[in-house]
């Protein structure tokens, strides 16, 4: 493993070269919200629209064959990326939120009954909480929550105490979007399996930072978004074990997902098409394949080490600023540094950072119960990706110093 050439890597992301109002260079530290896109992705989408735009799986012509072949190759890229057993287990969705809703609507509403229990963690994004609340309301199942400590680490003893014969599903995030905590998902999955429960892992914040092998993890569903992984927005993945997906009823009805249709009844298409009603986001899915191919061609171990070193430096330097308080200090973290400044509202900090060209996110990060648990109204969140540099951190720290004098 040698040090990666981040300058050359950055050059592949056209947006990173732009300046903001006042000719300020962009310091993009909002990667947990969405990543920028490399040329390989922008050109793949452009090429599709310029060269072979057509519908997939049905046209009797060369363009349709081409589009089908490239989109299905993207599915295979996803399959290899997460080491799924077969590409038919990879369902294209609009993103993590839709992937979770698909399972919550199809699996949960079919197989849950009153008294059953779903376990989520204290770190969940609303996307991995609200769909389960809705499923519980519809079925009479109950939601239980894995507690955590003040550092933002899940309490595994507390978790094991929640597990029981009523537990049907554990839905847990791999990496916390608000705090950056990396959860011990192997242990979480193993404990759930011992209790006979299924496990869904929300990988939205994990896939661009950590290697993921769904077979080694032993989970039942793994979901993520494309746009946090250098791919276009409106793309995402639901991976599920075939036995489960086969047993689940379709969620959306329409074209593509059927085999035969009469006025009385329909029979459904095989996996993965059973869950992909309507024309898919062909350009987006092709872009997702290009993003994964681009990312897997990098030295990912070296990039992860680069990111970890940057996070450690950012954390140390920011924490040394008087009055700055980190929120979430788990031992195992990736990408995210969440914080508050004494007496300053996060939104004010974010606005003044923005004036200096530094893009961060402020607010509750779609984790309102987590913010309540931590006793904070929200935080300022800086989140790193592979293309960030020490220069970004220098500018961020200088900008924070200026904010401190302001507020």
């Amino acid at each position: 493993m040698s040090a990666p050439d981040i300058g050359a890597l950055r050059a592949q992301f056209p947006l990173l070269a732009r300046t903001l109002a006042g000719d300020k260079p962009l310091v993009y530290l909002d990667n947990a919200a969405t990543t920028q896109k490399p040329l390989a992705v922008i050109e793949a989408v452009d090429d599709y629209y310029r060269q072979y735009n057509s519908n997939v799986h049905r046209g009797a012509h060369q363009l349709a064959d081409h589009a089908t072949q490239v989109m299905e190759a993207a599915r295979t890229s996803v399959q290899r990326f997460i080491n799924a057993r077969e590409d038919a287990e990879v369902i294209f969705t609009r993103g993590t939120t839709e992937s979770i809703n698909l399972v919550a609507c199809s699996w949960a509403r079919t197989f849950l009954k009153a008294g059953d229990e779903i376990i989520v963690s204290a770190l969940e994004h609303h996307a991995n909480l609200v769909p389960w609340q809705m499923a519980c309301q519809a079925t009479g199942a109950k939601l239980r929550v894995i507690p955590m400590n003040d550092a933002g680490e899940l309490d595994l003893d507390g978790y094991r105490a929640l597990l029981g014969e009523r537990t049907r599903l554990v839905a847990c995030t791999h990496v916390s979007n608000a705090l950056g905590t990396v959860n011990p998902v192997r242990d979480i999955i193993a404990a759930a399996k011992s209790a006979g429960a299924l496990v869904l892992i929300d990988g939205a914040q994990a896939v661009s930072h950590l290697p993921v092998d769904v077979q080694a993890l032993g989970c039942d569903f793994y979901v993520f978004s494309g746009h946090k992984l250098f791919a276009p927005t409106g793309t995402g993945v639901l991976w599920g074990r075939r036995e489960l997906l086969d047993a689940m009823p379709p969620w959306h009805g329409g074209g593509e997902m059927i085999e035969t249709v009469s006025y009385e009844t329909s029979t459904y298409n095989k996996l993965p098409y059973k869950f992909e009603a309507g024309t898919p986001h062909i350009a987006g899915n092709i872009g997702l394949g290009a993003a994964i191919d681009w990312f897997t061609a990098q030295d990912r171990a070296a990039l992860a080490a680069h990111e970890d070193a940057l996070l450690a430096e950012l954390t140390a330097r920011a924490t040394a600023i008087p009055g700055l308080k980190p929120v979430g200090t788990a031992r195992h973290k990736v990408s995210v540094f969440s914080f508050l400044m004494d007496g300053a509202h996060p939104h004010d900090v974010g606005t003044l950072l923005d004036q200096q060209g530094v893009a961060v996110r402020t607010g509750h990060h779609c984790t309102m119960p987590l913010m309540q648990r931590l006793g904070v109204p929200g935080t300022v969140r800086a989140s790193l990706s592979v293309y960030n540099t020490r220069d970004d951190i220098d500018r961020f720290i200088a900008a924070l110093e200026k904010v401190r004098k302001f507020l």
Binding site: H345, D348, G350, L352, Q355, Q356, T362, F406
Partner: protein, 148 residues
Amino acid sequence: MTYDLASQPFGNTIGTDDIVDALEFLDDWEARYAYIIDLGKQVPAMPEALRTEARLVRGCQSQVWLETRHDPATGRLWLGIDSDALIVKGLAAIVLAAYNGKSPAEVLAFDIDALFARLDLMRHLSMTRGNGLRAMVQRIKDTARACA
């Protein structure tokens, strides 16, 4: 503690012209935002007892509380605004300068978007769910319509 809306500076001694003059004179962002924050500090705090759910305009990143009082005798609409964020409160001061103590008809006739665009602050007003300002302006206009 009384919450006197009629004697606060915005809409009385400080009008939108004063703010436009000041902001157009200040050319770097630091001076502009220092000025906006200072405006916010001149807005009287809303007493805790009035910061109820009914007065809350919830934003994704910050919150705004709005009190409206229509005086039927004079026909004027008096407004009180507070926020948990300083810059939002400063922007609220600009909204107050435009609307506070005006008649409902004047409130409805005023082009707040044009004012914010001229001040190069439109970004803050157009955030649909970020800071609650847009929803607050809508609530003021709804109140004016109901009083008109």
